[in-house]
């Protein structure tokens, strides 16, 4: 029973973590809460659905396509809606982000209609299997494994590659990074690309998990992932993963204990508590004023 809930929680939490990573990386570099991030996730889910449903691609190819599309979308959003506001007040960029978020979800509603759509049944034929007495679906295992691989890839990019290191440098000190000859605008685009790709993968996985893709799915998932990022410490990459997993486990446990109508409230309770008790989050740096 415990193992059962743990696996349910980790599967759900992995998807939160995938989305939370985008929030945290973008915040780390330009100190902006990208409120359109949930819609990038939604767009990824729709593109995955189209590729799997209409073009009959297998789930992994559909996911790859969705990631590429969302990458371009995320970079485009930054370029059009945030970059011109880079030197204005943070509030302007935040309002711009909310505008983009509304624009994208409305656009999706016009294109795909207001009703939720499901993935074709053969997109991923899931089976139930027994692991140590727990009933686990192969779909859950797929979600956990895919997320783990993506996070590992992210870790390698950020720790080992030249661009990844430049990304960490820019998130520590934007100006000093520029003085090293790092094109910080490129690094910002790169960060949006990475975060958006992960969100798209999350979108496809969530779409398959709940068998539902809708124009407004980005709002709920986005806010929950944001709560996860804050819980882990916004700006911290391991924090986003930890926060996502903890939130997923807490939510599933809450439901198992019979508080299923409170399901979506749990994330907000956590968000409020973290902000009250430890605003820097579990793994976050003490808030420093960025010069």
């Amino acid at each position: 029973m415990f193992l059962q809930q743990l696996i349910n929680g980790v599967a759900l939490g992995s998807t939160y973590a995938l989305i939370a990573l985008g929030y945290t990386m973008v915040y780390g570099i330009i100190a902006l809460i990208n409120f359109a991030h949930g819609e990038i996730f939604m767009a990824g889910a729709f593109v995955g659905l189209l590729l799997a449903g209409v073009f009959k691609l297998n789930l992994f190819l559909a996911m790859a396509g969705a990631m590429v599309f969302s990458m371009a979308l995320g970079v485009g959003v930054e370029f059009i809606a945030y970059r011109p506001l880079r030197n204005s007040s943070r509030l302007s960029a935040l309002i711009s982000a909310i505008g983009v978020s509304l624009f994208l979800s409305t656009l999706a509603m016009l294109l795909f209609g207001a009703n939720a759509r499901g993935f074709p049944a053969n997109a991923f034929p899931s089976r139930q299997i027994q692991i140590l007495g727990a009933e686990v679906s192969t779909l859950q295992l797929l979600i956990i494994a895919t997320s783990a691989c993506l996070m590992l890839a992210l870790e390698l990019i950020v720790k080992r590659t030249r661009t990844g290191k430049a990304m960490r440098a820019a998130s520590e000190d934007y100006t000093a990074a520029a003085l090293m000859g790092i094109n910080v605008n490129f690094i910002v685009s790169f960060t949006f690309a990475l975060g958006s790709a992960l969100a798209a993968a999350g979108g496809v996985l969530v779409g398959v998990l709940f068998n539902s893709v809708s124009f407004n799915m980005g709002l709920n998932a986005g806010i929950k992932a944001f709560a996860a990022a804050v819980l882990g410490g916004i700006g911290s990459i391991p924090g986003a993963v930890l926060g996502g997993l903890l939130l997923g486990i807490t939510e599933v446990t809450g439901v198992a204990l019979g508080y299923s109508s409170w399901r979506d409230a749990i994330a907000f309770v956590i968000l409020v508590l973290v902000l009250l008790v430890r605003p820097s989050g579990l793994l976050g740096q003490k808030m420093q004023k960025k010069v």
């Binding site: 290191k165 430049a166 960490r168 520590e172 003085l179 090293m180 000859g181 094109n183």
Partner: protein
């Protein structure tokens, strides 16, 4: 090598630098001295492209560089060691140096650059895998200077390298600056410690509220009564 003519910089309504002109010849050490807020750092930041100039020209090796993005200026051969060191604290010493060599295309040149820095600052080699924030202030200053040297700049802009360091370390840092200069790097040095700056610079400019009030050879300025009164604490 570097020629600045009539440079002005404003932060909002505040004029930080007004009609500033100076020239720095190949192989020189030139000091900019003056009190806090006189516009010294602003000058360096304008050269590095970090703050936009509102007027005037900056030319490097005969080419206008005003308005060029900071990362391109580094590629032209101008590196800056910013005030307060600003090393990447959560990255290792090695990674910090790697960032200093970010503009180098070939792996080999990066390696050579790092070796050069390690021979100049053996202490950094000892601590290569340590996170930069765990270094002492003096070591961080070495790292900040080393980081700027990896890419072998032709012109090095040093902003307050002595800030917050113990007197013994200050001397060590200035010795190193002279050594870097001897190896062929032209240096512009911004300092509040006018005493030390005048000791190693060939020429200096004295700034006050964004304008040059005096300029000349360091030897002349060091005995100038006005400079002595204002920046050298009376008799030398």
């Amino acid at each position: 090598m570097l020629e600045i003519n009539g440079l002005s910089v404003c932060y909002g309504a505040i004029r930080a630098l007004h009609a500033f002109s100076c020239r720095v010849g190949q192989g020189e050490i030139v000091a900019l001295i003056g009190s806090n807020g006189a516009g010294k750092s602003t000058t360096l930041n304008a050269v590095s492209g970090i703050v936009p100039a509102s007027g005037g020209s900056i030319s490097f090796k005969g080419e206008e560089i005003r308005g060029i993005a900071p990362h391109r200026i580094v590629r032209l051969g101008i590196s800056q060691v910013p005030e307060g060191r600003r090393v990447f604290g959560r990255m290792s010493v090695l990674e910090n140096l790697e960032m200093g060599g970010y503009t180098l295309k070939e792996r080999k040149r990066l390696k050579e650059g790092m070796e050069r820095v390690f021979s100049l600052f053996p202490r950094l080699a000892e601590r290569r895998n340590q996170q930069a924030r765990t270094l002492s202030g003096g070591e961080q200053q070495m790292l900040a200077m080393g980081r700027a040297l990896v890419a072998e700049p032709q012109l090095l802009l040093l902003d307050e390298p002595s800030m917050g360091l113990a007197p013994l370390l200050v001397e060590k840092v200035f010795e190193t600056i002279v050594e870097i200069n001897r190896m062929g790097t032209t240096i512009v040095l911004v300092e509040q410690n006018a005493h030390m700056a005048l000791a190693i610079a060939s020429r200096a400019y004295v700034l006050e509220s964004g304008e040059i009030v005096l300029e000349g050879s360091s030897a002349d300025l060091a005995v100038d009564p006005a400079v002595q009164r204002a920046y050298l604490g009376g008799a030398v």
